[in-house]
Symmetry: C2
Subunit: 210 residues, 2 copies
Amino acid sequence: MHQILIYEDNERLRNSLELLLKGMPNMNVVGGFGNCDKVIEQVKNLMPTVILMDIDMPGEGGIIGVEKVKRHFPEVFVLMFTVFDDDERLMACLRSGANGYLLKKTSPLQIIDAIENVASGGAPMTPEIARRVLETFKVERKIPSDLGLTPREMQVLELLIKGHTYKMIAHDFSISVETVRSHLKNIYEKMHVNNGNEAVAKALRMRLFE
Amino acid sequence: MHQILIYEDNERLRNSLELLLKGMPNMNVVGGFGNCDKVIEQVKNLMPTVILMDIDMPGEGGIIGVEKVKRHFPEVFVLMFTVFDDDERLMACLRSGANGYLLKKTSPLQIIDAIENVASGGAPMTPEIARRVLETFKVERKIPSDLGLTPREMQVLELLIKGHTYKMIAHDFSISVETVRSHLKNIYEKMHVNNGNEAVAKALRMRLFE
DNA sequence: TCCGTCATCCCCCAAAAGTGCTATTGATAG
DNA sequence: CTATCAATAGCACTTTTGGGGGATGACGGA
């Protein structure tokens, strides 16, 4: 039996949802509220297993809501439920640990499905949401921004990042320290930096290495 | 009409898939191969709209495959298709721009669904996969794991990462170079590193700074 | 063939960094 | 009231680094 708590400021919609869920044999709506101001208290008292959470609400919205809930009750499943679909909010919810993300145009049947799904450890999202999540993965991916470093220079830089001294690098490649020095000079010039620390930071931030 | 290309090294499975898809009125299987060695050429010639891609294949596997395809033909949809696997590979595929991720235990009906879905811009994944994707979002936001650095040490480290010399750091904080030196000594010890480069790398990798 | 790039090596030299100690002060926790 | 800790500072000493030169052979494209 799923114990469901609903946060949704549109009263009519909230009531429809309650009716819908109460019609299911294995679902019990333990409460419904129009904002998240007292979410901690409410969750503590009503002990839901699944929360349906609207994002846009007066007072404390769903993003703060999911954060609070997940911080205090990480075992409670939170399903975001919204018309809004800008990437910012989506990401904020996901980072806060929301377990799923539904759009309001989702059909009642799918909502039921999603609740079952999330309660059994899944992470329901509409294909649209899923697509955007994947999208952000690609964006976060490095663009091989070309600094014009030669293969050797890359190898040297890699060891520098590992904290090797010039001497150690020279030894690793069986070349002279002077050569390492030359490579580093060229690297610094190409990267427009003045010392190793800066080069290391820049290289990592550009994701030249992981 | 979807033009489908299949990469799957298990011949029996590949044939089953072909049969399944050919049975659909709006799907056409344009080819099937056991590895990705010539994937660019094949995609160019066969012009699929959707590719079903196994991950584990002899020769070039599906991860290299999806990378190649997405680099040369970003408009072609790629559906990864695999037995359950480690997070590493999953993430690698997603970063490479895979459009969806199916488990081999997925039912034929769902496979059909997924193809329709991906072709219309969605991103089908099983709830299981979705859960793991969300999981990584939470993990990626891990809190600055505590090295026990004091506030001052953090400030000093931050400037070090910017490439400032001891002298510059000292000047910035109106303290003596010897003090900066002391802080750095403590920082290196706490971080278990031996020099600035290593400290910078470690700090950035731990996301102590961005 | 000539020119450019890469990788290699060398010199000099000053500045910077790192190591190992010690030590004072002020705040804070027990 | 002490013990700890953060922040400060100093000194001696060695090693490493960065910036300025210059040089050579190999390789490849114009």
